[in-house]
């Protein structure tokens, strides 16, 4: 059901992050993100690392749901595939909701430590 809502949100071009990522699913998604080991390579906020995710990040602004879910299920790269047996559809949808809920970082210009 949650996945259907997500897909619907994408199809209708809504503000996906706000409309789909209900607080409950995002909260459980964060737990699932940890329990299923996603955080190990992607960081607890999906920020990624050049050491573990080739520098790719999951959030904010995650990949479209179809691309995201297809990759998780069938990856043949360094990331192993996560089948439905080990990661349910509901948990995967909740993880996506969690990624949608992660806010954009502050602008680098506003972070004194990252200025020239």
């Amino acid at each position: 059901m949650r996945m259907c809502v997500i897909i619907a949100g994408l199809v209708f071009g809504l503000n996906v992050g706000q409309e789909v990522a209900s607080a409950a699913s995002a909260e459980h998604g964060k737990t699932a993100f940890i329990q299923n080991g996603c955080w190990q390579c992607h960081g607890t906020m999906g920020q990624g690392s050049i050491m573990t995710s080739g520098g790719k990040r999951l959030a904010p602004d995650p990949l479209p749901w179809e691309t995201f879910s297809a990759f998780v299920r069938s990856s043949n790269r360094a990331m192993p595939p996560f089948s439905e047996k080990i990661l349910s559809d509901n948990d995967l949808a909740d993880i996506y909701a969690y990624l949608l809920s992660i806010p954009k970082p502050p602008d680098t210009a506003s972070i004194p430590l990252l200025k020239e």
Binding site: G37, M45, Q47, I50, T52, A78, I86, P105
Partner: protein
């Protein structure tokens, strides 16, 4: 050998035998031995699982050590000190051991504990790793003493790291060769026919001198070989008897004068061919790994890169190239290699891995995906001194990579000739092309810098604290100091190397070489010791798993007042292994068992968590943490910096994101 050891050894042995006999007659019979004797005639009596040592062994190993009896003359180990001092060795990090007690005593009493000065270590692995880190800053090797058997086994991993990282360490292991005379029990457990065999596969040279003149030759030769590129550790077995025998006529002994060996240089015909290829290239790429032995190496590489306006990929085995220079192009490494027509590799530890990709996905019957990253027509040039190494057991030479121009020589020593050859080979009509290449690199460098800053901003306020945030909070506190980063930073996504301006050779010192855990903490202390002499501020990002391999080095840093700021990268796990086991579970379509942890069983350092601040303070070190809120970092770091500036080590424990 027997002749050499005969007279004075006999005196010492007779003395020890006398002590043992006296002890045996005076002491009551050990209980277990008495029980064993009483029950010998009773087959039903329970036998103890182990017997206590005899009185003789107990007296020899636990009693007050007796002074050696010299039959006149000076201690031979005094002469050994003269030999060691002739090479201007600064320190001897070591854990004390009976098998080199003669030399130990001579170093501190005859030698005055100066040049070299003893550093008390709590583990031989730390001793060698300290020497490893020291060399990378000072450019000078240290002497490490250890028991030739048990101590050397402790030291072996660190020696392997030094071997893989091409770092010279002079290791001497004590051993008591004469089986008919050495004390029974522990000293015999601690002796072997050939202690050097343990590390022969990953040392450049070893010897077992049997006379003092032989020792002098061996030690100077060992130093000379270790210091000739490729730098590598060397090993000397040091007989107890040789240390403790009497020296009657010092005038007959000589100490060979040390003359540094000029490093091997690439063949000039090969240099000219390499220059021709580079000068004609449309998209040349330079890659450097364990290249810059000194600051001159950095200067030469800048000159070569500028002559060609060629991008440089610094693999960070050493600080090879300023990341502030527009030709520093690490952020575009894969894209540049894909388009390159000529690639110059300087002291690459893994040329195959540089130009090929490997994906650990289980395909190809488990071998994973292996794919070339370069054009088939690309010409490859290599300058590496490691071609001159001829050991074959350990696989640190990596996969075989065919190259088109292969020079067996030290890259830094070869570069001045290559620079001149390139300048001569560059056709004047290509000046415009080369300048255009440089302009493109400037834009690419600026763009990459902006992307790196953007990447650092993600999870900026996260808890656990992001490694980028931690790196920049530290930099804010030290940026106005003459700083030196003395730990590896790969484990924290290389943020210091990517965000801090690094343009001095000592701004970072590369990694462990063999990736044996337990290197980082002691190597950082060793490097900080070398920086102390230069008045530099040393900073170390310390992985938690590495810390727990040898935390005793914290005490060594305090005891010897080695100023070093250790910032714990405390991700509470052996994180690399967490990912490996997770990968295996998912690939096998099984849910990874976490137990009570948040990563696969056996890979986490939690339940209970480790309080590193308390660990440090228990050894007398100023400490703060654990810190989980990024906003609390700056005040703690500010205080820690003041402690280090005052000449003491300090630690701040930061609970971090995994990478």
């Amino acid at each position: 050998m027997a002749r050499l050891l005969s007279r004075t050894r006999l005196n010492r042995r007779k003395f020890m035998a006398g002590v043992a006999l006296a002890g045996a007659s005076a002491a009551p019979l050990p209980t277990d031995a008495a029980n064993a004797a009483a029950s010998a005639g009773s087959p039903d009596a329970a036998r103890p699982s182990a017997l206590r040592p005899t009185a003789a062994v107990a007296a020899a190993e636990t009693g007050t050590p007796q002074a050696s009896v010299q039959a006149g003359g000076a201690p031979s180990s005094d002469f050994m000190v003269d030999v060691i001092k002739s090479l201007d060795i600064d320190y001897v990090p070591c854990n004390p051991a009976q098998s080199f007690r003669g030399l130990h005593e001579s170093l501190i009493d005859y030698g005055g504990n100066k040049k070299p000065e003893f550093l008390t270590c709590t583990h031989e692995e730390a001793s060698v790793a300290m020497a490893h880190g020291y060399f990378k800053i000072a450019g000078k090797p240290l002497l490490v003493l250890c028991h030739g058997t048990v101590g050397l086994q402790h030291a072996a991993m660190a020696i392997y790291n030094a071997w893989c990282d091409r770092v010279p360490v002079i290791v001497m292991g004590g051993t008591d060769l004469d089986a008919s005379k050495r004390p029974p029990g522990v000293p015999t457990f601690h002796s072997a026919q050939d202690i050097n065999a343990l590390v022969r596969d990953f040392t450049k040279w070893d010897d077992q001198p049997v006379s003092l003149q032989h020792f002098a030759q061996s030690f100077v030769r060992a130093y000379k070989l270790a210091m000739t590129p490729p730098h590598e550790p060397v090993m000397i077995a040091l007989d107890c008897g040789l240390q403790e025998q009497a020296l009657h006529d010092r005038s007959k002994l000589t100490i060979p004068r040390y003359v540094p060996t000029a490093p091997p240089q690439g063949d000039m015909n090969a240099v000219r061919e390499a220059a021709r290829l580079l000068a004609a290239a449309e998209r040349p790429v330079i890659i450097a790994d364990k290249y810059a032995r000194t600051a001159d190496g950095v200067k030469f590489l800048v000159q070569l890169a500028e002559a060609l306006q060629a991008p440089v990929i610094d693999q960070k085995g050493r600080m090879n190239f300023p990341n502030t220079h527009h030709l520093f192009q690490n952020g575009r490494a894969q894209a540049l290699l894909k388009e390159a027509d000529v690639i110059l590799g300087l002291e690459l530890a893994d040329y195959w891995g540089t130009v090929n990709g490997y994906i650990d996905n289980g395909e190809n019957d488990g071998a994973g995906l292996q794919e070339s990253h370069i054009k088939p027509s690309a010409k490859l040039i290599s300058i590496s001194s490691v071609t001159l190494n001829t050991k074959s057991n350990y696989q640190d030479f990596q996969r075989f990579q065919v190259v088109d121009v292969d020079m067996a020589g030290d890259a830094q020593a070869t570069l001045p000739a290559l620079i001149e050859a390139v300048k001569q080979a560059l056709p004047t009509n290509r000046t415009g092309n080369i300048e255009a290449r440089g302009a493109a690199m400037k834009k690419a460098w600026t763009d990459a810098r902006d992307r790196t800053r953007q990447a650092a901003s993600y999870a900026w306020d996260a808890s656990p604290i992001s490694t980028a945030r931690m790196a920049m909070e530290v930099y804010a506190q030290i940026k106005d100091l003459d700083w030196s980063s003395v730990g590896g930073d790969r484990q924290l996504s290389s943020w210091p190397s990517r965000l801090w301006p690094m343009d001095k050779h000592y701004h970072h010192i590369g990694g462990p070489g063999g990736y044996g855990i337990g290197y980082n903490a002691p190597a950082a202390v060793g490097a900080a010791l070398a920086n102390r002499a230069q008045g530099r501020f040393s900073i170390n990002f310390q992985p938690d798993g590495d810390m727990m391999f040898g935390p005793g080095v914290l005490w060594t840093a305090v005891k010897h007042q080695i100023p070093l700021l250790s910032v714990m990268h405390n991700n509470r796990g052996y994180h690399q292994e967490s990912m490996h086991v997770q990968r295996m579970s998912s690939r096998r379509n099984r849910v990874a068992s976490l137990g009570k942890d948040i990563a696969p069983v056996g890979t986490r350092l939690e339940n209970p968590t480790i309080d590193y601040a308390k660990l440090a303070s228990s050894m007398g070190m100023w400490s703060a943490g654990p810190i989980t809120d990024a906003n609390e970092l700056a005040p703690a770091l500010k205080k820690a910096v003041q402690v280090v500036k005052a000449g003491e080590p300090a630690m701040v424990d930061v609970v971090t994101q995994p990478r």
